[in-house]
Amino acid sequence: GESVGLHLPTLSVQEGDNSIINCAYSNSASDYFIWYKQESGKGPQFIIDIRSNMDKRQGQRVTVLLNKTVKHLSLQIAATQPGDSAVYFCAENIRAGNMLTFGGGTRLMVKP
């Protein structure tokens, strides 16, 4: 996952706009990736996942893009709503085991 920064990156968007949250991962052996959403006072919740043999996967209002060449993952949220305000984490899983390694997180703030 992304190396830890000194602060939590924040993305501020207007309600109704599209959001794009980015994540760089470091291990080329990773073959599975997950995006999690963590609301205040709660544990992380699964949003969408993607395997390394795909470059795009769509869910309801969310799309994950994977670029293995540059080891980059993005989460796109369409028509962002106030309920999307949370901290978003990417996580990678290396083939050898079940351990998920998390990136540093991005805080998404949605302005009404």
Partner: protein, 110 residues
């Protein structure tokens, strides 16, 4: 029904004390985990148990001792608490690659 439940939700204690956090999952998963989340929201794996056996033990002080009485439970005992132990501790379980998290225990060491 809560899938992964941990107690307590909040824990405030003095330095030097010993405390435990309990976790139970009703998903029938074989693997359970403890993660620590610091004030900058970084999530770091501490331990992983598969069917009551320890499979991952990251660089964690030996004051932290996990115990799994059965595959549905993974408790975390912490001895001689230090200020730096203040964090949110998350229990999680998995059967495949997706982790299911509890709602966290916020530990504050004074």
């Amino acid at each position: 029904d809560t899938a992964v439940s941990q107690t307590p939700k909040y824990l405030v204690t003095q330095m030097g004390n010993d405390k435990s956090i309990k976790c139970e999952q009703n998903l029938g998963h074989d693997t359970m985990y403890w993660y620590k989340q610091d004030s900058k929201k970084f999530l770091k794996i501490m331990f992983s148990y598969n069917n009551k056996e320890l499979i991952i033990n990251e660089t964690v002080p030996n004051r932290f001792s996990p115990k799994s009485p059965d595959k549905a439970h993974l408790n975390l005992h912490i001895n001689s608490l230090e200020l730096g132990d203040s964090a949110v501790y998350f229990c999680a379980s998995s059967q495949a690659r997706e982790l299911f998290f509890g709602s966290g225990t916020q530990l504050s060491v004074l």
